[in-house]
Amino acid sequence: MKKWLIILLALTMTVPLLSACWNQKELTDLAFVLALGIDKGEDDMYHVSFQIVNPGNVSTGQGGGGGQGLPIAVYKSTGRTITEAARNATKKVSRRLYYAHTNLVVVSEEVAKEKNSLLHIMDGLDRDPEFRTTTELVIARDSTAEELVTTLTILDKLPVMKITKEIKATEAMLGENMSVTIDDFMNGIISTGKEPIVNGYRLVGIKEKARLAENLQTTTTDAFLAADGLAVIKDGELIDWIESNKARGVIWVLDKAKSTDITISWNGKKNGLSMVPIRSKTKVATAFKNGKPIINISIENEGWISEANTAIDLTDPKIMEKIQKLVERKIEKEVLSSVKEAQKLRCDIFGFGENVHKTNPKLWKKLESNWNDYFADLEVNVKVDSYARREGVRTKPFWSVLKFK
């Protein structure tokens, strides 16, 4: 009898454990927030848009085929802080907002231009255990963050995927944008020897149509999202943009450029040749002359000739060498002009200061307090080594055998 009582007692004691997790979250009770759009209204409150995935309408493949509705839903709420806005949002959403899969934070240009607004967002995101700081940060150019977050996209059902994948693709193929995460941004903000840059994104086309399902019914969508330029942040606020034509030099110095295209003129023919680097490596080193730092940037890349729109003998090593020289000069010019641009803004987006800090900590202590002003007059040398290794599956271009001129 006693034995049975003990067994019964032991069994009863396991009951509280069997109910499993204390703070369990069922999948059906969660609303996965994919993107946050942060604007500031006239009431001086944050207007946060939560882009939430609508799981039933995303599934692809032959079986499911996707539902009838839209893949995302956007809810908006306001608050004096991000946390307040997030909690206020629960009045509108039936499920618990879940941030572990948030991949994108969009900040409007208006917010970014004001120091207090931009920096006041960050700690809430940085501190939250659920939210990942590897999330991509983007600034909405000439449009509100809400507009960016509500836009529907064709190829990728989830607009967030479009943006994050696109940034990675341009980083790899063109080199005018690069992935900038909340972490990278925070590092830049905190560091005295480096200022952050953030990708700009623009809603192009008829803005009113961006959020309508009919935007998905045409091949040339009426409104679409496109990366455009790099925002330069100094002392926690957006001071200016580096436009696409100068952006590539920046990415190059930061050693993020993988591939791009370099078009040069040949024998007086404009845009006669294109070279595509496939590998690129940038090294930044600090040298000292008379106790003053000099930055030496050396870039090494190799690639192939992707286009030759002129009569040229690509089988001749001497000609290849000449091409390489031209490409080198072109890249040099581009990188230098980007550096000049940043120097004009008095903003060390390249992290040269950190490099000085690492090579000469003593000197850095003297320069640290007004580094950005010092940076503006810094001597920067660029040296490029380019190698055109091969020329595709043709040797001489057809231009060489053309009979007419």
């Binding site: 204390w22 703070n23 255990p129 700081t133 972490d183 925070m186 905190i190 800090h357 000469n360 900590p361």
Partner: protein
């Protein structure tokens, strides 16, 4: 004392798990920024010297735990009093590690679970383990040692292949000179985790091959020290100095960075796995030391009777030592000065001096 024997390998495994325990999770030596790893190596060096004090004492009394030879060295009553203090110290450290463990889980994944529940579940497991005896702990250690190493190697490879390591974050080396590094290494890191080897003095008499004791403990300490150093280097080179300094648990943040091919990511579970295993052994060994000490000082026959009371004390102490995390960390600094140094270094040094003279007298008189 229990009549159990553990092998040299088992002791080695326990030393490694115990030393790495909670030390790997925290941002050790973050005061000296990118030189934290140098401070850890210095701490290891100091810890080895401190260990030789314990080892010398062990050589004088190879069959007795700390609490017993205390009574032989400084006399019965003073020895018992000191032994009692050591028991309280062991329980307090066990409670601190338990709190560390609970805080970590509540700040990261179990945000809405009360600390008490998490700590209770952990202590119940440990009570069960210790109740089964030290040999069981040692065998479980052998099993988990392999699991921990496999996950550590896996985690390391994933971090490397994610391309996260930027060794340039470690520069400039010794930016503010050697002094702050020596200070951090030889005042703080020497006591946590290396000086905590003091609990091993309660376990050393259990080893079956007495000759092995020295090398087993030393190699365990060195291996653990190297692992902690590597972890610090990886953390700093992945996160950068600033984030290493601002994260309460840098390793968790580092593991959160792993992203391979857009689908191997969010591997925090690796960290949690380590956390539970490492926490278990560290608490269990301190707990066991307190238990064995109490049995010894109060001359009880059956240690089973004391297992539950000590467990409950550790549990309640872990909840009540601080009302919030900031207070808990602040107390940790005081612990280093007022508890770790006296209990780990000062008292053992005095004991060794007295033991040296006593034993010399014995030897000369016997001649």
């Amino acid at each position: 004392m229990e009549k159990v024997k553990i092998s040299g390998y088992q002791l080695f495994v326990l030393v490694v798990l115990f030393e790495m325990g909670s030390a790997i999770l925290l941002g050790l030596g973050s005061e000296v920024k990118q030189d934290a790893w140098i401070a850890i190596l210095l701490g290891l060096f100091g810890g080895i010297i401190v260990f030789f004090i314990y080892y010398q004492l062990y050589k004088y009394y190879p069959d007795l735990p700390l609490t017993s030879y205390l009574q032989k060295i400084v006399g019965k009553w003073v020895g018992r009093l000191l032994g009692l203090l050591y028991i309280v110290y062991f329980m307090y450290v066990a409670a601190r590690v338990l709190r560390d463990f609970g805080e970590l889980l509540t700040t990261t994944i179990y945000n809405s679970t009360p600390l008490f529940i998490i700590n209770t579940l952990m202590i119940v497991t440990i009570i069960y383990g210790v109740h089964k005896g030290f040999e069981v702990l040692a065998r479980v250690g052998e099993l988990y040692f392999i699991i921990i190493y496999l996950t550590a190697i896996l985690g390391m490879l994933l971090i490397i292949f994610s391309g996260l390591i930027h060794l340039s974050n470690l520069a400039p080396i010794l930016e503010n000179g050697l002094n702050p590094v020596i200070k951090t290494g030889l005042t703080q890191i020497i006591t946590f985790p290396f000086g905590e080897m003091i609990v091993i003095t309660m376990v050393l008499p259990l080893i079956n091959d007495k000759k092995k004791a020295k090398w087993v403990c030393l190699s365990g300490m060195v291996l653990a020290g190297i692992n902690i150093t590597i972890t610090a280097v990886v953390n700093i080179s992945v996160l950068g100095v600033d984030l290493y300094h601002r994260s309460p648990f840098p390793l968790l943040t580092t593991i959160g960075r792993i992203q391979i091919a857009d689908f191997i990511e969010r591997l925090d579970v690796l960290f949690m796995l380590y956390l539970v295993i490492g926490g278990f052994f560290k608490i269990a060994i301190f707990y066991y030391a307190a238990l064995a000490g109490a049995v010894d000082v109060f001359q009880m026959k059956n240690q089973g009777k004391l297992v539950f009371p000590i467990g409950i004390i550790v549990l309640f102490a872990s909840i009540t030592i601080a009302s919030n995390f900031a207070e808990f960390i602040k107390e940790g600094i005081a612990v280093t000065i007022y508890l770790s140094w006296p209990f780990q270094i000062i008292i053992p040094s005095i004991l060794l001096t007295i033991a040296y003279f006593r034993n010399r007298k014995k030897q000369t008189s016997s001649l």
